[in-house]
């Protein structure tokens, strides 16, 4: 598996849209970090942009698999299942840990914002889950999955039971929920990617890459 991952990353540098994708990833990360810092962690959009950058990295791996030369190779399945799952899992753990550390610091600095900080972290967890599920489906069913993703991301604002975060939710509990969600998300992603494997790439994605 490690060999597959190494090969997968060697192939990413040959992705057709790598330059624009790197720009988008950098842009999303910058926006995410700026929103996080300027909003003192109270705005979930910071986490949203950071999660979106993970989504772009995941897509980088899958985009290479679109071309029939790659599809005719033994790496086809790994590029659509194991490699993207492992990549996004590692990145999610890393970024979530960073956000968690940031929350610990912010809660110590601004204890009055504790509930809002926990809530925004919870929303980031939900966004991360949505992103991994979406990224697994979008290469095969791009239009449908994008519509559903946008709708669900929009519905995030409905998460607003502040009482829950004020009273019964603690940071360690939320951290545990976060890590468990990432593990469950990765497992779901692996399962879904295997179920989706037999379907051809979305014609929309294919046309966009081959043009």
């Amino acid at each position: 598996m490690l060999r597959d991952i190494v090969i997968g990353f060697k192939l990413i540098k040959h992705s057709n849209t790598r330059k624009i994708d790197i720009l988008i990833i950098a842009l999303f990360l910058c926006i995410g970090v700026i929103v996080e810092i300027s909003g003192r962690g109270l705005n979930f959009l910071g986490g949203f942009y950071i999660a979106a950058s993970i989504l772009c990295i995941y897509e980088q791996v899958e985009k290479v698999a679109v071309f029939t030369l790659v599809q005719s190779s033994g790496l086809k399945k790994a590029l659509q299942t194991v490699i993207p799952v492992v990549t996004s899992f590692v990145l999610e753990i890393f970024l979530f840990t960073l956000l968690l550390i940031e929350r610990i610091i912010l809660i110590n600095m601004y204890p009055e914002n504790r509930a809002e900080l926990l809530k925004s972290l919870f929303m980031v967890i939900v966004i991360l889950l949505l992103c991994v599920i979406y990224s697994t489906i979008c290469m095969k069913f791009y239009v449908v999955s994008t519509v559903i993703f946008v709708f669900m991301a929009g519905a995030l604002s409905a998460i607003g039971n502040m009482e829950l975060f004020r009273n019964s939710m603690s940071l360690p509990l939320l951290a545990a929920i976060g890590y468990i969600t990432i593990v469950v998300g990765a497992a779901s992603q692996y399962l879904i990617s295997n179920l989706m494997y037999k379907y051809s790439f979305s014609k929309f994605v294919f046309r966009r890459l081959v043009k």
Binding site: I7, L11, F67, T68, L69, S72, L75, L209
Partner: protein, 305 residues
């Protein structure tokens, strides 16, 4: 003739809207060059995509090299490493340079030889002025040179089978001849272990390299067999208008003009036309294929008299 199959298929079925590819049984003999012949939209590329694992949502059972299933093909590197594939659509990124194409092949396939790839690029004159421009993008090459680059990539690997989708279409007649030689050398050097399956419209150009033919029409295999057997099964007849009338019920297909007619019929029916005075000749594979395709086509324009 005794032979084994490099690929066997049972109950292959794939639906695309109104089009249905339905192949109850498929055999690709081992150690031979097999041509998959059919008109546009007959299902050749779909069948090849199914065989190479590019299309995975088709029904049916496949067996490779007498032992591997389609599941084995996807789950282990062994099968795909042994099969080289060239396809016409979306094979390389248009922006990939020759250097990148070489690097990617090197990364993807253990059995790839960089030295052989470069040598083939030279031999196939991808760059007419000699030398190799590693910075040249795939999209900057002509259709013919793009195909040559794909062929160089696949022939640079040590494989047991090649599946080539329309390799001759973008090539000039001289290069088609070179392609035939490459296929023949590949099959010969395998001593019965290397096989080629290629699809083509240019039956006449590829005839001299074809050992076995599979004719596909409207998603179904309508004829298949070794070329020698097909040439025994079908025969070409020529005659004048009066003779045509006398034997018309035995003709498989016919083309008529003011000077007479020529047609294909089954050799088994030869006794029935004895004494009519028509001339019989051995048909070429091209004539047989056109006759079989015409007999089975759904084309409206079909000049059968």
């Amino acid at each position: 003739m005794e032979y084994t199959n490099v690929i066997e298929g049972k109950g292959i079925n794939k639906r695309y809207g109104k089009f249905v590819l339905d192949i109850p049984s498929l055999e690709v003999p081992k150690g031979f060059a097999t041509a998959l012949i059919g008109e546009n939209g007959a299902g050749k590329s779909t069948l090849m995509d199914i065989l190479t694992g590019i299309l995975l949502d088709a029904k049916g059972d496949l067996k490779y090299f007498g032992e591997y299933s389609a599941k084995d093909r996807e789950n282990s590197y062994d099968v795909k490493n042994r099969i080289g594939y060239v396809g016409s659509k979306g094979y390389y990124f248009p922006q990939w340079t020759i250097r990148e194409i070489n690097d990617i092949n090197k990364v993807l396939f253990d059995n790839y030889s960089e030295e052989k790839f470069m040598r083939l690029l030279n031999e196939l004159s991808v760059f007419p002025n000699g030398g190799i421009d590693l910075k040249k993008k795939n999209s900057q090459l002509s259709d013919g040179n793009q195909m040559k680059t794909m062929l160089a990539g696949v022939f640079a690997r040590n494989t047991d089978m090649l599946i080539l989708d329309e390799p001759a279409s973008p090539l000039d007649p001289l290069m088609r001849d070179v392609l035939c030689q490459m296929i023949r050398s590949y099959v010969c050097e395998g001593n019965g272990d290397k096989s080629v399956l290629f699809s083509t419209h240019n039956i006449a150009d590829m005839e001299n390299v074809t050992d076995y033919a599979i004719i596909i029409e409207n998603g179904s295999i309508v004829e298949s067999g070794f070329v020698e057997d097909l040439k025994e099964k079908y025969i070409l007849v020529r005659g004048d208008a009066a003779q045509q009338e006398a034997i018309s019920q035995h003709l498989y297909t016919v083309t008529a003009s003011q000077f007479g007619f020529s047609g294909i019929m089954l050799s088994d029916d030869l006794d029935s036309i004895a004494g009519t005075g028509v001339v019989t000749e051995q048909a070429t594979l091209s004539q047989i294929c056109v006759a079989v395709m015409r007999h089975n086509t759904k084309l409206d324009y079909c000049p059968v008299i």
